[in-house]
Amino acid sequence: VKASTTGRRAYALLLRLYPRHFRSEFADEMQDVFESALDEAAGLGFARAAGVWLRELRDLPVNLVRERRWDAAAGVREASMSVGPGHSGRGEGSGPAAEAPASWRESLAGAGLFLLLPALGGVYTAIYVLLGGQGPRPSTQYEDAGSMLLALIVAGLIAVACYAWIHSFPRWSFPYLGFGLVFSLLMSAVVSSATILGHQAGRVEQLLWRAFVPALSVAVISLLATRSLQPLRQLAGDVWNDWTRISFALYAMLPIPLLLRFDETHANGLLLAGFPLLLGLGALSYMRSTRTWQRAASLAGGLAASWLVATAWLTAYFHGRQEPWMSAPTDVYRMAAAMSGAGAVLMAQLLAPALLGLAHWGMHRLRPRHSA
């Protein structure tokens, strides 16, 4: 019995988790050895074949962490030997020197959260139709589809956060981490009837600490997988060396206040989908930037552009309009001023981590310099 194509492909996917250097050196041989082992075990029965898979999966986390550490240490060794200009090794964000830009794959991963947001409406509709929902909403399927979409989002965020933790929090992961934490914070204040697929699962007044259970499970899974605090130390070091990482995490929450401004309007889906995409462009530019000021400018630019478009549209929409819940027609000048004020507050929050950069700069200046 030959190793099944699915098994072969699944193992090839697992191999992709190893560092690039390791893969290029051993992936073919590992695939070959695994297939031989699986073929032989499959001949002895299902349990033996399952044993081969279980062994691989059992050792995988430890092997991944070990190889990545070894790879990082080798990178540091090579960097310390290299004196060529523009060589930055892995230590991204360490000081004002320019770095190599992130790869396009990493950049797309960094902007992925914003690019995926517009698709959520489509996913929701797909679930709604799959559940047999039709006709005017709301209906039972309407609530169930919402629950399932929420479960999908939470599961996706947990998976990404675990991956990011195990891989020492790469730059692209910060929006997901930021969005996850803000999402938990918002959910902690939500009053839920805890209805799951139409079944009442007990009355819950407020989610409170329960909203942070996903974050806690990420920590437990990741600590068990890595059995090390090194990723957290790496996170602290990376944030200390490059404050824009915190801004990037905060940037991920911007779609929420932005889209909430369109509540009670008849904005079409295309317009609403455009805002996350505009923010996504800022994220993409951030990922491709190589200097701190470029990164800060990318995020500030993304916020400014999307907020300006929102202000212009809302001002035009409400011009002379009086909704039933309004006591008087909208004063567009006051509205524009209020939008600008809110935008300025968001901008200040986005760039507040620069204070950390200032502290870093001050410490660097005060530190006594040793002659070589």
Binding site: E29, M30, V33, D59, N63, E67, R77
Partner: protein, 117 residues
């Protein structure tokens, strides 16, 4: 980047020791090493491919093993990479084997029954 250290410091891990021991009679490819380690350890140590190649990578970097062509390769299958102990690797294995023998001898001289304190 190879170190030329001949003495394992700290002592070899069980997996590394068995992997090197499996190459002692001659060069072997990955799958043969996997099976030999299982055999040598009486089925107690069954390596995953990830663990095997992690160890192989470090042994290569330490210069204790080297790549070579599989001497028993069959022309009907694709060429397999084999690994062989280097001179320094053999000396490390010998040193480790002597260390283990000394320990076993010492344990044999000591009464191990209950309440032997």
């Amino acid at each position: 980047m190879r170190s030329s250290g001949l003495r394992p410091d700290p002592p070899l891990s069980e997996a590394t020791f068995y992997i090197m021991l499996s190459m002692s009679p001659g060069p072997k490819h990955g799958y043969a090493i996997l099976k030999e380690v299982r055999l040598l350890s009486d089925g107690r140590l069954v390596l995953s491919t990830g663990t095997l190649y992690g160890a192989i990578k470090r042994l290569l970097e330490q210069g204790w093993i080297d790549r070579t062509e599989d001497p028993r390769r069959d022309h009907t299958v694709r060429r397999r990479q084999a690994y062989a102990l280097t001179h320094s690797g053999r000396r490390v294995l010998d040193a480790e084997t002597r260390r283990l023998q000394t320990m076993v001898r010492a344990a044999g001289l000591q009464p191990l029954g209950e309440g032997s304190m």
